[in-house]
Point group: C2
Chain length 289, copies 2
Amino acid sequence: MTACQARINALLDHYLPKEEATTPLYQAMRYACLNGGKRLRPYLAYQSAALFNTPAQIIDPVAVAIELIHCYSLVHDDLPAMDNDDLRRGKPTCHKRFDEATAILAGDALLTLAFEVLSQTDGLQSDNCSTNLKLIQTLSRAAGPFGMVQGQALDLAAEGKVLSYEQLCQMHHAKTGALIAASVQCGAIASNASENDLEELHKFGLRIGLAFQIKDDLLDVLGKSETMGKKPGQDVKNQKCTFVTLLGLNTTSEYLNTCYTQSLIHLAPFGQKADPLRSLAAYIVGRET
Amino acid sequence: MTACQARINALLDHYLPKEEATTPLYQAMRYACLNGGKRLRPYLAYQSAALFNTPAQIIDPVAVAIELIHCYSLVHDDLPAMDNDDLRRGKPTCHKRFDEATAILAGDALLTLAFEVLSQTDGLQSDNCSTNLKLIQTLSRAAGPFGMVQGQALDLAAEGKVLSYEQLCQMHHAKTGALIAASVQCGAIASNASENDLEELHKFGLRIGLAFQIKDDLLDVLGKSETMGKKPGQDVKNQKCTFVTLLGLNTTSEYLNTCYTQSLIHLAPFGQKADPLRSLAAYIVGRET
């Protein structure tokens, strides 16, 4: 994962516009992306492609696009009108470091840039064109009004309410699961994987996406602010319905393990080649940040 | 133009998600789009395609995507942290009708949906795939950090400052010119037009884009709130540098006519077929709203 982080940081540095003096827009875009992120989603895309022996440089543009979309979503989610967060990975959030208008625009620009990166046709064969369109379709669907944006809207609408278990799962599926699952799928789409393989990897992505969120809920109760780079206890403060408030600590921990075990079933068809994805699933449930 | 408006309204109604009760997201997306807009940019795409006898149904998805991008930009531009506008076409702006968080998310969702619409591959031949990628490239470039978003950032940075004539042109070129020019180009790209024709149409689009903005500046001084659906005098109130503050009323009016005349030069190669585009240019300089 460290190698993937270095690769994505270099690629983001390449694709992001260089800072210039007239407006803070480009500086804010770079601040929002080049901030020590885990690069979990690009890693999933690379490792999913590696199952099919697809070289990493084929995946570079889609990995960059995925991370740009993820970073835009964090900038907008942190805004005062949304989650109103002051800190992100131990540093001031984008609207705190710059201002609200700049943060809104930086998010808009990162989202738009993601699709520009995926549309670059230089040197593409026409059969690669149809692959790129499928990548754009998969990511826009996962990020838009039927995916991530809907998830954030459901999250805001849920504040102060008690959700059913199904409603909580639906919200997290849209908010984080869709983009994580799309990241796994994109590595396979770019490898011209079979429908069967795409299906298994999609299911794997959805399970680890859910595991990721359950772990987040646990960390908000059990985590330490030094390792997390943000204050724990935000969910209780914001009266959020979480797996912990709904199921209690013990059942939530058990449920996390169930999701982990279930995710591994979908990797069985890929044999030893899927070991990096297995390690990643283990990392997601074991992480402390 | 009335027929185009009806066509785009029906298409937007089809592509936008239907309202549902859990969150106000879909309702806000529809509110932001189905609001009596002029549909100027889709009209440009259709009429540019008509120069090459391309059927309107080929242009439908790109016309919808262009209008979705335009509507998202209005929602975000109106936000309190940006231009802080309460009225848009005589009705409450999206964040006034709903709330700020919903308006931010609705804008994000409209932008993402635009690219989803352009990525739909059902029934596309592989040579159409490369056309769709070029459309996505053209629109993302015009809308993103080198186009519309940059223009809005330049606009915000200019508040209370006196810009040079070149700086004012650069700002408007990015803020409104880029998407208007891209709309004209997209009709031609979808028609597999020659590089020469694309170039002329791009130049036509940039001239009428500039004319559109000059007219906006004039209307802010000379317009009546009943016909405009918003209060005039906002530029002076917000201490904005405009063509009127920079050049005075008379010179600005003359400059508007110069832009109009220059735009027509680029339509000469297309003969009588370009008459609807000529009428549109005349409409832009003559409009009262």
